[in-house]
Amino acid sequence: MTLTAQDWLGKIKALPLKKRVRIMNVCGGHERSITMAGIRSALPKTVELIAGPGCPVCICPEEDVYQAIQLALHANVILVAFGDMLRVPVNTPKREIRSLEQAKANGADIRPIASPKEAVQIAIENPNQSVVFFAAGFETTTAPVAAMLLEGVPDNLFVLLSGRRTWPAVAMLLDSDTPSFEGLIAPGHVSTVMGPEEWLFVVKKHNIPAAVSGFMPVSLLAAMYSVLRQILEGDPFLDNCYPELVRPGGNPSAKAQMAQVLHDTDANWRGIGVIPASGFELNLRFASHDARTQFPDFDLVGRKRAGQMPAGCECASVVLGKINPNQCKIYGLACTPKSPVGPCMVSDEGACRIWWAGGVRKNAASSVTDFHASVD
């Protein structure tokens, strides 16, 4: 018999949970489903769901966004990027151009795309111009960028790669003195590509239960049940609650292609700092398509607040799951989707944007966290 979301919720409610349990997810898609389906308020009050590092746009280095803006403005290129990146602000004085959207309004040729294929097509259609693809994303997005390059691209297409790996950020959180969660919902599509084994360290090294989940409430609730029951039984393992897509070893073609095109590197996360082996760099074989080597670096030495989150914005703490979105001092006040200050309010995968879309309007910066009380 196939269990429904309601069945899994019933099973969760039947668990003899006594202590508070915090479960972290690390995927914007998970956070969106949890928020939109009202899963937080449906769960027992002892279960707290924390949105962790699941938004690649939010942690994309400020310097890379700045570089993309400057390339678009000064290098006579067509700059293409996933739509979410266009409104991400950089730290420049207000009189200067602060986002790709503003650069576009000022005449730069910037085009939002939904697929790497579109970048190739734009390069083919504009053979006399350089096209720079500003590619920010986690593994699920970086793998198609690698596939695009391996399949072959026109000479005039260059990639400004800001790809990041998810597990090193979780490893960093777990290696800290005070991990902020007792269970992990591992990302479904990252695991689909890279294999669920990437998350075994959570169980084996840290003795913390983990379950890979898909994006429907039925899969998320099954994963939550699995994690909670693992905690109760005291015998953590890595469960796979997204078996229709996630297989042992992941997607072998995609991983082989990534290995041919990319290698791991220590990488900066906006407002957080450098996390070892958390980024991707193009292999030497693809240097002729690497925007970092083919174009000048426009960043200014000593530029104020370079690399940081915007002033007053607590996106870094939100991304790391240290505070809930509405505990940021400017959530819903100075920072709203209409006038976003931080990247977490810009991106569809940002926890602040998702919570706002889910109806959380009250700023809870000065009160105790309680999602049940914060939804109007």
Binding site: W8, F82, P144, H189, V193, Y225, R229, L245, A254
Partner: protein, 72 residues
Amino acid sequence: MQIVKIEGFNAHCVAKGIEREVSLFMLQDESLEIGNFVMVHVGYAIQKMSAMEARSAWEVYDEMLALEAKGA
């Protein structure tokens, strides 16, 4: 999305009335046929959907315990 046409590494796919050209480049280890379902991310099929046997290891575990209890 469901594959309705394959040409080399490209497929024409549909889902809920939406039609898309999808790259199959990342699924070279899979045998894909018209009618198969694939998960698509930024225009690329990242995995072929397969039949699900259990949603969680706990389902299998509980089923085994129940069978053992019946046998006892």
